[in-house]
C-alpha cells in the first residue's frame, strides 16, 4: 500500500494549514493573525448613529436664501420677503414690475440649478416657489452622511481607539464598533457633538425679555448661555438675542487646542486660516463696541464686547470647561463639524470584566460539553468512537483555523455555535456508524460494510447539513454583530464537519482496515 496517496496528503495539508492559522492566537508567531474577539468578549461599544441629514438640506437652503438676498442687494432689487418653507422650498415675494424682472435676471444668472415653479400672482405681488432638484437633494443627504462619517472617523482617531470600525450602514445610518473603549459616555459625547461653531452679533437694539414673551425681531433668534455656579449642579441659563446672520463659522479653522487662563481654567484657543483671519479682521473692525457671540451648537459660550479690530485670526472660547470637556471640544473643532446633527439609535456596550466572564463561561461549557460527547462516543462505539472523537478534535481545530484565516469575529453566540457544532458534528459519524452496523448485521465483511456505510450515508449527511447551512446563511445575512458571529461559526462548523466525517474519518477507517483487512470492526 502507498503511504502517501494524494488524498491523505491533502487531508494532512488542510489540517496543518488550520493549525498554522490557529497558532498565533496562542503564541506570538507567524502569520500573526489572531482570532478576533467580538465586542461582547473583549469589551467595547457598538453604536448606530442616525444622521439627520435633512438638516443639511435645510442648512443648504438657508445658505441659498442668504446668497439670493446678497445678489439682490447687489443688483438693487427689492424683495418682499424670502423664506424657507417646511418642505425645504424657498418662497420669494416681489412686487410686479422692475423688481420681478430684476429677480428673474438674478435667478437665471446665478441660480440656474434651482427649479422654479410657475409664479403665483396676487394683488400685484408675485410669489415664486424655488426648490432643489430631487437628485441634488438626495446628493446633499448622501454627502452629509459621508461627511459625517469622515468627521466622526477623525474624532475617533484623535480620541485614541485602537482598531475602530466605522462604516455607513445603509441610507443615513453609521455603524461604529469601538473595541476596548474605557470611557463610553465621553466617547458618545464626543461623537454626538455637532460642533457647529459660529460667530454672530448680539442684537442689543431690542429687548431680550420681550422677545422671549413675544416673537423675536425678524432675523434674530434667542440662544442661551449655560453657566454653573461653583459647587452647584443647577444650571443658570442666560438668554441672548442673536442676529441669525452667520459672520464666520468653524469651517475656516486650522487649529484648536486647550489653553489655560491666568486662573488655570481650561479654555480653547482657535486659529483661523488666512481667509478666516481676513473675515475675522473685517467683522471685528466693522462691529467695534458691539458684542460678538461665540456660538457652539446653538449655545452661547461667550459674548465679549469687541474693543478693537483683531488681526491675526486668533480667538478663544471660554466657558466653565473641565479639562476633559475642553480636550474633547478641541478635538471636535479640529476634526470639523458634523454637516448635520446625529442621534444614537442603537448602543451596545460591554464592559471588559463582563467580556472576560463570558470568555470563561463560554470556554468552560465548551470543554465540559465536548468532554461529555467524546466520552459518550467512546462508550457507545468503542474504537470507532475514538475515530469520531479524533474527527471532532480536528473539526474544532478547523473552525479555529477558519476563524483566524478569515479574520472573522468570535463572539459569545459564536462560541455557542462551536459548542452546538460539537454536538452536531458527531451526527454525521453516528449516521455512518449506524449504517455500518446495519451492513455488518446483513453479513458483509468489515471493509465492505465500511465502504457501503460511507457511500450510502454520504448523500444523507450532505442533505442534512445543507439545510442547517441554508439557515445559517440566512442568519448571517440577517444578523449584525454578535449574532453574525454565531452564523459564522455555525457555517464553518458545518463545512468542517462534512470534511472530517466524509473524508477524514473515512481515510482513517481505510488506513486501519488496509493494514489489517481481516480485522474485526470495533464499533
Amino acid at each position: 500500500m502507498k503511504p502517501f496517496t494524494f488524498k491523505s496528503v491533502s487531508i494532512i495539508g488542510v489540517i496543518l494549514a488550520a493549525v498554522v492559522f490557529l497558532l498565533p492566537t496562542f503564541f506570538n508567531c507567524w502569520p500573526h493573525k489572531k482570532i478576533n474577539l467580538g465586542l461582547d468578549l473583549r469589551g467595547g461599544m457598538h453604536l448606530v448613529l442616525e444622521v439627520q441629514n435633512i438638516k443639511a438640506v435645510e442648512a443648504e437652503m438657508e445658505r441659498t436664501i442668504q446668497e439670493i438676498k446678497k445678489q439682490l442687494r447687489k443688483e438693487g432689487v427689492k424683495h418682499l420677503g424670502i423664506s424657507r418653507l417646511n418642505d425645504n422650498s424657498i418662497l420669494a415675494k416681489f412686487s410686479d414690475g422692475d423688481d420681478k424682472s430684476g429677480f428673474e435676471t438674478v435667478l437665471s444668472k446665478n441660480f440656474e440649478h434651482l427649479v422654479t415653479q410657475k409664479p403665483h400672482m396676487d394683488n400685484n405681488i408675485v410669489s415664486y416657489k424655488l426648490t432643489l432638484p430631487e437628485e441634488e437633494m438626495e446628493n446633499l443627504k448622501k454627502m452629509a452622511t459621508e461627511q459625517a462619517l469622515e468627521t466622526i472617523r477623525n474624532r475617533i482617531d484623535e480620541f485614541g481607539v485602537s482598531e475602530p470600525d466605522i462604516r455607513i450602514q445603509g441610507g443615513n445610518r453609521i455603524l461604529l464598533q469601538l473595541p476596548g473603549i474605557k470611557d463610553p459616555e465621553r466617547a458618545k459625547d464626543l461623537i454626538g457633538k455637532t460642533a457647529q461653531l459660529t460667530f454672530q452679533i448680539v442684537d442689543e437694539d431690542a429687548d431680550v425679555n420681550s422677545a422671549i414673551n413675544g416673537t423675536p425681531p425678524v432675523g434674530d433668534e434667542i440662544l442661551y448661555q449655560t453657566k454653573y455656579n461653583a459647587g452647584s449642579s443647577v444650571p443658570i441659563k442666560t438668554p441672548f438675542l442673536i442676529k441669525k446672520r452667520i459672520l464666520l463659522d468653524g469651517s475656516l479653522l486650522t487649529d484648536a487646542r486647550v489653553e489655560f487662563d491666568q486662573f488655570q481654567q481650561p479654555q480653547i484657543g482657535i486659529e483661523f486660516n488666512r481667509k478666516g483671519a481676513r473675515i475675522f479682521d473685517r467683522i471685528t473692525g466693522e462691529n467695534i463696541q458691539k458684542r460678538l457671540a461665540i456660538v457652539l451648537d446653538k449655545t452661547v459660550y461667550s459674548a465679549p464686547v469687541i474693543q478693537d479690530r483683531i488681526a491675526g485670526g486668533k480667538a478663544r472660547i471660554t466657558g466653565n470647561f473641565t479639562l476633559d470637556e475642553a480636550k474633547d471640544l478641541a478635538i471636535a473643532l479640529r476634526a470639523g463639524s458634523l454637516p448635520a446633527p446625529v442621534r444614537i439609535i442603537e448602543e451596545r456596550t460591554v464592559g471588559p470584566t463582563l467580556g472576560a466572564d463570558s470568555i470563561r463561561t463560554g470556554l468552560m461549557s465548551m470543554i465540559v460539553g465536548g468532554f461529555l460527547v467524546i466520552l459518550f462516543m467512546v462508550i457507545y462505539y468503542k474504537n470507532a468512537g475514538l475515530i469520531a472523537d479524533l474527527a471532532l478534535v480536528i473539526n474544532i481545530i478547523l473552525i479555529g483555523g477558519g476563524l483566524a484565516a478569515f479574520q472573522a469575529n468570535l463572539t459569545l453566540p459564536g462560541i455557542a455555535g462551536i459548542i452546538l457544532t460539537i454536538g452536531m458534528a458527531v451526527d454525521a459519524n453516528v449516521i455512518i456508524y449506524e449504517r455500518i452496523r446495519e451492513e455488518l448485521r446483513s453479513g458483509k465483511t468489515a471493509l465492505a460494510s465500511v465502504n457501503a456505510g460511507f457511500e450510502r450515508a454520504a448523500l444523507t449527511i450532505l442533505d442534512a447539513n445543507v439545510t442547517t447551512l441554508i439557515a445559517a446563511l440566512v442568519l448571517y445575512q440577517f444578523g449584525t454583530g454578535a449574532i453574525r458571529g454565531f452564523a459564522v461559526t455555525l457555517c464553518l462548523g458545518i463545512m468542517a464537519s462534512l470534511f472530517t466525517s466524509l473524508i477524514v474519518s473515512r481515510g482513517i477507517f481505510n488506513f486501519v482496515l488496509k493494514n489489517k483487512p481481516s480485522r474485526k470492526l470495533s464499533i
Binding site: E185, S365, I470, F478
Partner: protein
C-alpha cells in the same frame, strides 16, 4: 453498546392520532398564550428600550435600587436579579432612551449609588431605538420566512426532483412579499399570509416532502415561541438565531427519515403497504435520531448550565427546539407525507 435495539419495531403510524392530538394541544396552548400576552414578550431588541446590567461588590436589596431609580423618575424601570444570588448582579430594564445631560447610564449609576451607598460597576448597556426595534422585528420575520422557503425548495428539489416547480413557486412568493412590503403592509400579517399560501400551493402542487417539512418546521417554531410566551421569557435577537438554527437542525432528523422512506418506497408504489414502509423507515433510523439528539442535548445542557446568564435563554430555546424537532420529524413530518401520498 446499543440504546435502541436493531430489531425495534414501534407502530409510529398507528400512534399518529396521539401525536396529532398532542401537537394540536401544544399549538393551541402556544397560540392561546400568545393571544393572552398580546404577542411574544419582546425584549428591547424588538420594541426599543434600554437594558443596563450592574454588579455590586456586596449584597444590595433590590428595593433600594428601585427607589434610587424612581428618584430620578424611572418609575417604569424593572429591576431583576441576574445570574446567581451571590453574584449581586442586576438587570435594569427601562423604556427610557432619553439622554440626560450626563447620559443615561451615568445617571442610573449615580442614582443607584445614592440610594444604596455602593458604586455599581456598569457591565453592559444595550439601548435600541424604537425605529431600530421595528426594523429588527421585520428583518427577523423575513429571515424566518426566507429560511423556511429556501429549505423547502431544497427539499422538494432533492426529494421530488421538482427544482423548477418549487423554485418558481418560492420565487413568486418572495416577489409578492417584497412588493407588498413596500406598501406598508404589516410584516407579520404578510408573512402569515405568505406561509398560508405556501402551504396551499405545496398541497395542490403535490410537493409531499416539502409539505411535510414545512408543516413540521412551523410546528417546531410555533411551539418554541409558545413555550417562551407561556414562561414569559424575553424574546430577543439570540432567540431568533436559535429559531433559525432549529429550522435548519430539526430538519436533519426529518431528512434522514425521508431519505430512508424514499429508499424503501422505491419499487413498491402500492398504497396499502405505505404505513408499513413508513414505520419501517422511522424505526430503521430511530437509533440515529435519538443518538444525535442526545449528543446535541448534552452540549446544549452544558451551555445552559455553564454558559452564563447572557446565553441562558438561547440555550433554553435550542433545548426546546431540539426536543420538539426530534418529536416532529417522527410524529408530524412523516404522517403528513403519508397523508399527501394517500391523496
Amino acid at each position: 453498546m446499543q440504546l435502541i435495539k436493531s430489531d425495534i419495531n414501534i407502530d409510529f403510524i398507528g400512534k399518529q392520532k396521539i401525536g396529532f392530538i398532542l401537537s394540536v394541544l401544544f399549538i393551541l396552548l402556544s397560540i392561546g398564550s400568545l393571544i393572552v400576552h398580546k404577542g411574544p414578550n419582546y425584549g428591547i431588541d424588538f420594541v426599543g428600550g434600554t437594558i443596563i446590567q450592574i454588579k455590586f461588590s456586596e449584597q444590595v436589596p433590590v428595593g433600594k435600587i428601585r427607589s434610587g431609580l424612581s428618584d430620578i423618575g424611572f418609575n417604569n424601570a424593572s429591576v431583576q436579579n441576574f445570574g446567581a444570588d451571590h453574584d449581586n448582579e442586576f438587570l435594569i430594564r427601562t423604556s427610557n432612551l432619553a439622554m440626560t445631560d450626563k447620559g443615561l447610564s451615568q445617571s442610573i449609576k449615580d442614582a443607584v449609588m445614592a440610594s444604596t451607598g455602593i458604586a455599581p460597576e456598569i457591565r453592559r448597556v444595550e439601548m435600541v431605538g424604537p425605529q431600530v426595534g421595528k426594523d429588527l422585528r421585520e428583518k427577523a420575520l423575513l429571515a424566518i420566512f426566507y429560511s423556511l422557503l429556501f429549505i423547502t425548495i431544497y427539499i422538494s428539489g432533492r426529494f421530488e426532483l421538482k427544482w423548477i416547480l418549487s423554485g418558481v413557486t418560492a420565487g413568486s412568493l418572495m416577489t409578492a412579499v417584497y412588493f407588498l412590503s413596500i406598501f406598508n403592509v404589516s410584516m407579520a400579517v404578510l408573512i402569515t399570509a405568505a406561509l398560508a399560501v405556501t402551504l396551499a400551493l405545496f398541497w395542490t402542487l403535490r410537493l409531499k416532502y416539502a409539505m411535510g417539512a414545512i408543516v413540521a418546521l412551523l410546528h417546531d417554531v410555533l411551539i418554541t415561541i409558545g413555550i417562551f410566551s407561556i414562561l414569559d421569557l424575553d424574546f430577543s435577537l439570540p432567540i431568533i438565531a436559535a429559531l433559525l438554527t432549529i429550522i435548519g437542525y430539526s430538519l436533519n432528523d426529518t431528512i434522514i427519515v425521508f431519505d430512508r422512506l424514499r429508499e424503501n418506497i422505491k419499487g413498491s408504489e402500492k398504497t396499502d403497504s405505505l404505513p408499513l414502509l413508513f414505520n419501517k423507515s422511522i424505526n430503521g433510523t430511530l437509533s440515529r435520531t435519538i443518538l444525535t439528539s442526545l449528543t446535541t442535548l448534552i452540549v446544549l445542557f452544558a451551555l445552559y448550565f455553564l454558559g452564563g446568564e447572557i446565553i441562558h435563554n438561547f440555550a433554553f430555546a435550542m433545548i426546546i427546539g431540539v426536543i420538539i424537532g426530534t418529536y416532529s420529524s417522527i410524529f408530524v413530518a412523516s404522517p403528513i407525507v403519508l397523508l399527501a401520498h394517500k391523496r
